[in-house]
Symmetry: C2
Subunit: 363 residues, 2 copies
Amino acid sequence: MKTRDNVFVNIDSLRLFVANVLKTNGFPAEDAAITADVLLAADRRGIMSHGVARLAKYIERLENGLIVPSATMTIVKETPVSLVVDGGAGMGQPVAYRSMMRCIEKARTGFLCVASIRNSNHYGIAGYYTQMALDHDMIGISMTNSEPLVVPTFGKNALLGTNPISIGVPAKDRRPFLLDMATSTVPVGKVEVYSRAQKEMPDSWATDERGLPATDAGKVLQNLKGEKKGGLLPLGGGTEDTGGHKGYGLAALVDIFCGVLSSGKTGNDVYGTPNSPPGVSHFVGAVNPEAFSSLDEIRENMTHYIDMLQNAAKGAGQHRIYVAGEKEYEAEERHLISVPLQAKVFETLNTLGARWNLTLEEA
Amino acid sequence: MKTRDNVFVNIDSLRLFVANVLKTNGFPAEDAAITADVLLAADRRGIMSHGVARLAKYIERLENGLIVPSATMTIVKETPVSLVVDGGAGMGQPVAYRSMMRCIEKARTGFLCVASIRNSNHYGIAGYYTQMALDHDMIGISMTNSEPLVVPTFGKNALLGTNPISIGVPAKDRRPFLLDMATSTVPVGKVEVYSRAQKEMPDSWATDERGLPATDAGKVLQNLKGEKKGGLLPLGGGTEDTGGHKGYGLAALVDIFCGVLSSGKTGNDVYGTPNSPPGVSHFVGAVNPEAFSSLDEIRENMTHYIDMLQNAAKGAGQHRIYVAGEKEYEAEERHLISVPLQAKVFETLNTLGARWNLTLEEA
């Protein structure tokens, strides 16, 4: 018997379903709408690991008291060009969204503004907030620390998050440049795919419980549960020869901009230890192109730059050089009305919704 | 007959020698002093590829009319938090130094300032300018594009520079965090070492003339001369599976912050094509920790963070987890009075100096 891989669901129905589940669980309507929109954006862009599949986990953490659904954000410090924000242990999406909106407003007259945010939770895809800045003709910056899954170079245990960096720059008559990358070689979802397929992993992806390169995906996932022995490798892999210390340096940099500048949590403390409650930290910012030149000139420079990359000679067997964000924009353009969900995710969502008489239907 | 590997030279004598060579070639005294200091800082930190070994190349480019020794910088645009600077085709060190000094001054009252710089030349190690900000109790940012040596993911020819990113954050009672990393897996100097040793390279370092992973270092260097066929690989290597597209994205990001925001040169244009004169672009910036919290609190948060990394469990066979910049700071502390130069570099410097009766002596 063949099981279905994907189920297509109408975008508006899915958004409503996710928002209703969140509202039923104590989220204010606007917070529920923001969170639902961020999750949907991931599915539309083909980043299913960060999409509505996360909802069940969110509700579980909420029921365990790790997320305060009705949290309000506090501005701890504000200057003309910066904010420190406390998320009040609420969900990451509303606080990151509102902080970015405030950065965009401030950058209109002040040319740029950045916000370091503490005491939050998972905020979805980093690129959502960058896109907000792009939608307002600004350069966007977005980073977050996250659950410890990454082993520092020469370390033994997972200590750092996959700590993504996203930066977006607008272009003219072209899709924007939109980088959105974890600072680990691969996300944990990729290890899960290899585990299910019982396929050997490249040795730049993860380490075993001794801190040595591992190729057994199932074992790596098992080690990560519980005591965080071993884990994912930083971008560049497990040696300095292949540049692993650079990915580790970038992961630490994200931790610093998010958790150190906000006086929030970093490293192992992000998801809680016996001595500290959990608390994810983020960093978002908007830069007005008028800080440098006219918006038009910056956009034209970008178009010239994107064309140079795309038109460059292709390597043997290759037909296309991609610009950061291009694959995700193309996926988004394919998913204007409905998005595919893994059949298992579709079922889990309906099981979850059934607790409050909420149903999700196929498109 | 054994040839000597290294010659030790007194730091003050070396600084004077380099500055004198530059002054003799038309550099104003202050510009010569700044450039000499940046080159020396690299040798002291053990980054010999970016140290005084570059002087002969600088003079060659100067004599070919590619560097204007008496150039003065022009501020093209200025806002409270940003600068666009034109280097007037001068050396990179003086314009980057002065732009960073101005950013530091502006960040004292304005909390942060960034400068995008066009029409410049090689500026030495990115970390020198970051260190300037650290010396003023600020967070420093420094990036530059450079000679095309790096092949974009799925591309065939070198199109991007090794485009380094440096960010530094001050700590209390600890050395600062000072990331200074090329966005390629390795610098070209490392390929040269493997070529001399006729050693096979890891396949994440470079591509051949077809754009396929290469392990023959000599061949890669030969290909890079002339038509830039093949070249270095971005951090993460030659495939998306190992994250090569992330290193490529970061390299492009550096190009954008340096060359797009300043309306300067990017990619292949940086070192000149038949249709365009050369022109390197930089980006520097200073962030006042008071934008987020008190300087003291940020420094204490950093100390806590650094201790967490350093004290974490070590992988099998490892005795130490490094923090970004630690190795270079330790090298610098070993080289307070004299620095080692490769015997060949020492000879080349003396051959060069002899043209103007300038001599460099061993310590």
